[in-house]
Amino acid sequence: MFEAVAFYLFAFLTISMFYIAVTTSQALYAISSLAAGMIFISAFFFILGADFLGAIQIVVYSGAVMALYAFGMMFFDTTRDVKEKHGNKVIVIGLSIISAVLIVLIVGAPIVGSNIEALYPITEGAGNTQEVGMVLFTKYLVPFEVAAVMLLVAMISGIVLAGKKMDLSLTLMNEQEILKMREEDKTKKVLS
């Protein structure tokens, strides 16, 4: 009973939040509703007994990813309205639904055919975090390390891409130096 009420409540909230995030023309509304939707999704993980995944969802998405987007938005002019493509709405929505159903069929077909069996069954008497740790650091150790290297690569590429001219401080330069730097930027190609 409680599970059903929680499921329908959070399903409604998540769908409405993501609908707002997709359809609104203001970037600030989009990022706020997206952050709310991420937190509501973690509720499903808690309902499903995946406590560690729910905590990670809140920490990574609402903490790291949303903060990164908020910092990114400061670079862009997000106060103006976002332009939209005005194509055929029936085609867009129809194609989206068809491909979403296809994805679910691809994932769900082996399950419905009951060809699946638990490779790493949940052990009795251990909390979710403990189970996750046991499986992650034994069976999935190599993918874990590869993911760590991938995050390192992403961090370095983020620093290299966004951090150009970070050795220069605009607060310590005077007006002429800043103007001279801007002029040099215009003549030089940033990304070629």
């Binding site: 009973m1 059903a4 499921f7 399903a11 769908i15 993501f18 995030a21 997709v22 970037a27 990022i31 939707g37 991420m38 999704i41 499903f44 993980f45 499903l48 995946a50 995944l53 969802q57 990574v60 998405y61 990813v65 990164l68 987007y69 990114g72 670079f75 862009f76 002019d77 997000t78 976002v82 493509k85 194509g87 867009v92 194609l95 989206s96 979403a100 994805i103 679910v104 994932v107 699946i116 490779l119 790493y120 069954p121 949940i122 189970e131 996750v132 499986v135 999935y140 993918p143 993911a147 991938m150 995050l151 992403a154 961090m155 983020g158 620093i159 891409l161 966004a162 940033v190 990304l191």
Partner: protein, 102 residues
């Protein structure tokens, strides 16, 4: 109706995935496009966690972790590229990125 099964979660995941795909197809601003991809990844995570719960198998949760890691690194690299593009062209609309059009 009152018993929540695997199908409920799969249907919810389908709806969220469709919403994300609608966003990918109709958004022109690249930042909004990134929001839509986050929705796609999250909807898949829900179905992974649900399958993991209803089959008593932890593999689904593991894949959800790796999906989250990939999403985080995608955001870092993507925003870096967006900032570089914005410095050069002063906008982040998809229509301005037509140098590879055939």
């Amino acid at each position: 109706m009152m018993e929540i099964g695997l199908n409920h979660y799969l249907v919810l995941s389908t709806i969220l995935f469709a919403i994300g795909l609608v966003g990918v197809m109709r958004r022109k601003n690249l930042l909004m496009l990134f929001f839509a991809t986050e929705i796609l990844l999250n909807s898949v995570n829900i179905s992974f966690a649900a399958i993991s719960h209803y089959y008593g198998d932890l593999t689904g949760q593991m894949f959800a972790f790796f999906v989250i890691a990939i999403a985080a690194s995608e955001v870092a690299v993507g925003l870096g590229l967006l900032i570089v593009w914005h410095k050069k062209h002063n906008n982040i609309d998809l229509d301005s990125m037509s140098t590879m059009r055939g």
